[in-house]
């Protein structure tokens, strides 16, 4: 029995390492990806198709919202009771003949797997698609140690043979089309001949024959886990192709790498998650195969079972009450499929193993926002809130994004010196450990003190300060606006500005600056404000505005606020509707007269 000192001195927040980083800031990477029209077309098609399927099968269940509520509550319980549940889980897996290992970070998990594989004296292993092993970069690590890991999921195999990176959680090779896949197979898959066409069925058959040999002969398999049950020690893998069943059943040794957050307290909780996951993920009522096993069963499946419980930054995520619900994620990818940013930028732009909206909150939290590598991710969103609506466990992604933006800004302004320094030093340490484990010289790391961001005001600070001074006084604002015609004169011959210097250049990266109008709004309002108020009174009369119906969204969240603000549009809609009705009535009586009141009003607006 281990006793743990609550908040003992020396306990530190420890962030994760591995494939969790953006290699280039999101905007830069996204700009390059946007030019890849094939990728964009494929992703657009995939996300829209899966989105439609999901909506259909979710609509079939009268109790979908009840299931979401249950799923969300169970995951909150897991977070709150995690130490106790982990102990219980370990005890039950051990009692049933499994061996439990604990890995603080990616390097430690990789080392444990390598030692286990080496102990079996083999040089090849088969793998079930797993996000956790991708996160820790297991395949690359094993390769460096002379062990070949064969991915057995069709999409992962395509990605692996093509020496590519996954672009979607569920369908990792969705950025490749059938011709590209045929080309990869014929080049890299032994035993494929000229008869290989680009038909998906033919390509799948080729993969089947190639992998069957691996399944029949390989004695060690590595998997992830979708769920682990504390109460019984049961593990679950959800899949479609049967490659998972092969890996979990035929080899003599099974090694499972599972993030500590994948626990569920009770066996009966599976009745909630086996309904939430497939409908949210592939848009099916149920995925073709789900496997569950508890330890080792004599005469059925592997004789040896190892479970590696992985932290790698998860405890750090848990430590932020405003962000910890990111750990509720069950990796369904529904948020990717509805995200307007993901749809255009694709999965590679997010850098980390976890793309899309969930990646934008999970990756920076696993590594620490101040780790710099991921500080552009919380901005990779328009905060439209769709990800929250489809999330099967109700993770309020928009609110967490805003929270992380706040963290990022405060870090940049030196208001989180200590945390920033600590984050940076833990990341540097983890990377060095990783590099040493892999036998390469670590890149020289910057001194942690560098994370103490400059307190010298930045360009943005100066701009904001200047804008604040001007805008806080009507007189100053009026004076500033007199400069408008100047700008107009300068820009009109060019039809607007396409490039601005320095920091404000950020604006012209995404759009052109139009030619300024000939007068400011304040100026216009001075002459026309009164008319406008009259017009509103005229339009609405004594009409009561309809109160917009409240949804399921709690108002305390950002998604809730967005929802409430949408109600503000009800006023504008009411005005438009009344106008349309009246115009129709007037149009009937004054059809022959061109000088209708509407026409006059339009004239005023253009004045």
């Amino acid at each position: 029995m281990t006793t743990v000192d609550l908040g003992m001195p020396g306990t530190r927040i420890a962030y994760g390492s591995g494939n969790l980083y953006e290699e280039t800031p999101f905007p830069e990477h996204a700009r390059a990806e946007l030019k890849n029209t094939q990728m964009r077309a494929n992703i657009g098609h995939a996300t829209h198709t899966i989105r439609g399927k999901r909506a259909r099968v979710v609509g079939e269940l009268p109790d979908w919202q009840d299931l979401r509520d249950a799923g969300s509550a169970i995951k909150q319980e897991v977070g709150a009771r995690l130490p106790e549940l982990l102990e219980q889980f370990e005890a039950n897996v051990t009692a049933r003949g499994g061996v439990v290992h604990w890995a603080r970070d990616a390097a430690e998990a990789n080392r444990i797997v390598t030692d286990l594989v080496r102990a079996k004296g083999v040089e090849e292993v088969i793998k079930v698609k797993s996000m956790a092993t991708q996160e820790i970069g297991l395949n690359e690590h094993l390769e460096g140690q002379g062990i070949k890991a064969h991915e057995t999921d069709l999409a992962e195999l395509i990605v692996q043979l093509g020496e590519d990176k996954p672009s979607h959680i569920l369908v990792p090779a969705i950025h490749k089309n059938r011709d590209e896949i045929r080309e990869i197979f014929s080049r890299r898959m032994p035993g494929t001949g000229k008869e290989l066409t680009n038909e998906p069925a033919v390509l799948a058959e080729a993969a089947r024959s190639y992998l069957r040999e691996k399944f029949l002969d390989t004695t060690v398999a590595i998997s992830g886990a979708n769920f682990g049950i504390a109460e019984t020690g049961t593990l679950t893998v959800v899949e479609s192709e049967g490659n998972g069943r092969m890996c979990l059943t035929l080899p003599k040794t099974l090694i499972t790498v599972m993030g500590v957050e994948k626990l569920l307290p009770r066996f009966s909780d599976l009745e909630v998650f086996t309904q939430l996951l497939p409908r949210s993920s592939t848009g099916e009522r149920m995925n073709p195969y789900t496997s569950m096993w508890t330890g080792v069963t004599e005469g059925d499946g592997p004789e040896e079972f190892h479970l590696i419980l992985l932290d790698n930054g998860r405890s750090a995520v848990l430590g932020d009450p405003a962000g910890r619900s990111a750990l509720h994620c069950i990796r369904c990818s529904a948020c990717l499929n509805v995200c307007p940013v993901y749809e255009h930028a694709g999965g590679h732009a997010y850098g980390s193993t976890y793309p899309g909206p969930i990646g934008a909150i999970l990756s920076p939290q696993l590594t620490g926002v101040a780790a710099e590598q991921n500080n552009s991710l919380p901005y990779a969103s328009s905060l439209c809130g769709r990800c929250y609506e489809v999330c099967p466990v109700k993770i309020d992604i928009p609110s967490i994004l805003v929270h992380l933006r706040d963290e990022d800004i405060r870090t940049k302004h030196g208001q989180r010196d200590q945390a920033a320094t600590q984050q940076r030093s833990t990341v540097i340490e983890a990377r060095q450990a990783e590099a040493e484990a892999a036998g390469v010289t670590p890149e020289p790391a910057g001194h942690p003190a560098e994370a103490k961001k400059k307190k010298v005001p930045s360009e943005m600070d100066l701009l904001m300060k200047a804008a604040g001074t001007v805008m806080s006084s009507g007189t100053r604002m009026g004076l500033a606006e007199r400069a408008l015609p100047l700008g107009r004169g300068a820009l009109k011959p060019f039809g607007g500005a396409k490039w601005l210097p320095g920091m404000v250049g950020g604006w012209t990266q995404e759009r052109d600056i139009p030619v300024p109008p000939n007068q400011s709004f304040r100026n216009w309002w001075k002459n026309n404000g009164e008319n406008t108020q009259q017009r509103v009174a005229e339009d609405l009369g004594d009409t009561q505005l309809a109160v917009s119906a409240g949804g399921e969204v709690p108002a305390s969240s950002l998604a809730g606020e967005i929802h409430q603000h949408a109600a503000w549009g009800a006023e504008a809609q009411a005005v438009a509707k009344l106008r349309a009705e009246r115009d129709q009535a007037e149009g009937a009586t004054t059809k022959d007269s061109p000088a209708t009141s509407t026409g006059e009003r339009e004239g005023e607006q253009n004045a």
């Binding site: 927040i13 249950a70 066996f267 932290d311």
Partner: protein, 209 residues
């Protein structure tokens, strides 16, 4: 040594992360946990969902079952789990049992050389079209229903339930569980569904009773 250290460190980090002492909420379980449909309706729903997954579905009773099995498995060598009800079996079916001459279970390559497998099942969920195998004597070990390319699965009518919670109630977690919803499939290439990858490419379900 290093392992107990790793465990202590991780638990210490987690305890530190939970220093605000969040409270575990009660799980609201307002979702459906028992069926409100008649049994015939539930069986119809299961058939509908299985067909939707491209499984072949047959309805047989005690007298017609052996004939159907004979027809479905005529061209194959079929492996049978030891506990399978022998009254289901037709005369003249070409079968093997799961042990070779020295009593050891068949190896993976031996299984791969067989054409088909015939099993029973523990429970089936109509709403999702899912058949649950639970390592029972008439289902055999997991490899049997996986490696041969053709799976004929008997679903006794009294094992059909409507909802997932009703199905899980009948599961024994001590033994391996395999949930099967149609033949194996992939949509990894341009989202075009291809039935049959590594699991059995042909799934025949006999609703029996």
């Amino acid at each position: 040594m290093s392992q107990s250290e790793a465990k202590a460190t991780i638990l210490s980090r987690i305890n530190y992360a939970l220093r605000d002492q969040p409270v575990a909420p009660q799980t609201p379980r307002a979702y459906r946990r028992s069926s409100s449909l008649g049994h015939a309706e539930v069986v119809d729903m299961l058939e509908d969902r299985l067909v939707d997954y491209k499984a072949n579905v047959y309805r047989e009773d005690a007298s017609s079952l052996p004939g159907r099995i004979a027809e479905l498995l005529a061209d194959s060598v079929t492996i049978l789990p030891d506990g399978l009800d022998s009254s289901w079996l037709p005369e003249g079916l070409s079968t093997v049992r799961d042990h070779n001459d020295d009593g050891a279970p068949l190896g993976a390559r031996e299984l791969d050389a067989l054409g088909a497998v015939l099993t029973s099942s523990t429970v089936s969920c109509a709403e999702t079209g899912t058949i649950f195998l639970n390592g029972a004597a008439d289902e055999g070990r997991r490899a049997l229903s996986l490696v041969p390319d053709h799976h004929v699965c008997v679903v006794p009518l009294d094992t059909v339930v409507e909802l997932i919670p009703e199905a899980f109630e009948r599961m024994d977690h001590q033994r391996p569980i395999t949930m099967i919803s149609g033949p194996s499939a992939t949509s990894d290439i341009e989202l075009e569904r291809v039935e049959g990858v590594h699991g059995p490419r042909r799934l025949d379900v006999i609703l029996f009773g």
